[in-house]
């Protein structure tokens, strides 16, 4: 019997299957499997970002709402650098011209990220809808990023 057996992978159903390929991913794109439990805000942010990447369109009369690769990558990088553990879920939205915006609200405080198509990002603190401070994020934005978010949650 053994001599007449053929490997099951020789069946027609497997003929179209290609060998597994290496997946190129940046560390910032890798997230724990338990993300929805340990950091629901991050799960929500990545989910919204994915939706914007998938659904973005060029809309005549409004603007190009497709996300650029640079804007997407920058947003993922920013999310990966956040050290503030307890945050509400942010709101993500397209910025016309292929950018992306991200906003957190806690009480009357708000932190708003505007990432342009190039990946350049401006972050602003607002309280009662009035600007408190803003900055253009540098190459290594970790300190500024977390400083703004700590200010946000210190309102609790």
């Amino acid at each position: 019997m053994g001599d007449k057996m053929t490997p099951f992978t020789a069946a027609p159903a497997f003929q179209g299957v290609e060998c597994a390929k290496n997946v190129q991913a940046q560390t910032s794109q890798l997230v724990p499997a338990s993300l929805s439990d340990s950091a629901p805000w991050l799960y929500s942010a990545l989910s919204q970002l994915h939706d914007l990447e998938r659904a973005g369109q060029n809309v005549p009369g409004v603007g190009d709402l497709r996300l650029s690769d640079e804007a997407s990558t920058t947003t993922r990088t920013l999310l990966s650098l956040i050290e503030v553990e307890v945050l509400p879920s942010p709101t993500l939205y397209p910025i016309s011209g292929r950018g992306v915006g991200m906003r957190w609200n806690v009480g009357r405080r708000e932190v708003e990220f505007t990432t342009f198509a190039s990946g350049n990002t401006v972050v602003a603190k607002l309280e009662n809808s009035q600007l408190v401070d803003d900055t253009e994020l540098p190459q290594n934005p970790m300190a500024e990023l977390n400083g703004y978010l700590k200010w946000l949650v210190s309102a609790r």
Binding site: V59, P60, G61, L65, S96, G97, G101, E112, V122, A124
Partner: protein, 138 residues
């Protein structure tokens, strides 16, 4: 670079920005709606709007059903550092299309975002009109 139409001035000239994303709308402290700064920031520095007096809100409502619109004056746009350039082709068949171009601040700077926020804070939000029984806009 499109030219500034200097005839578009003052409080009487109103400009319409279609708020296609629901997160382009925020609440003021008094509970009224306002556009967020994101509604007027543009990576390419050409934010699409329509001149209220020259456009056709029915066409906008048909193209963007259920969407709200931000109304700002030409005076507010100019005070926030924008020029107003006509761009009929950009309306894709809807008349009165213009683009707001930021000239006071460097594109992608924090001043650029500040001025977009200033303009957004001056805006009022309206609902697009109910569609009349006409042929759908193609």
């Amino acid at each position: 670079m499109p030219d500034d139409d200097v005839s578009l001035q003052g409080e009487a000239v109103e400009l319409v920005r279609v708020l296609v994303d629901r997160n382009w709308i925020a609440l003021r402290d008094d509970g009224t709606e306002r556009p967020s700064s994101g509604a007027f920031v543009e990576s390419t520095n050409e934010a699409s709007c329509f001149i209220l007096a020259e456009t056709n809100l029915q066409l906008i409502a048909a193209r963007f059903p259920g969407k709200k619109m931000a109304i700002v004056t030409a005076a507010a746009a100019r005070a926030a550092g924008f020029i107003i350039a006509r761009d009929e082709e950009g309306g894709d068949g809807i008349p009165g299309h213009i683009v707001l171009i930021q000239r006071q601040a460097r594109p992608e700077s924090k001043q650029h975002v500040r001025l977009a926020r200033q303009l957004a804070n001056m805006a009022r939000v309206i609902q697009a009109p109910e569609l009349q029984d006409e042929e759908p806009f193609q």
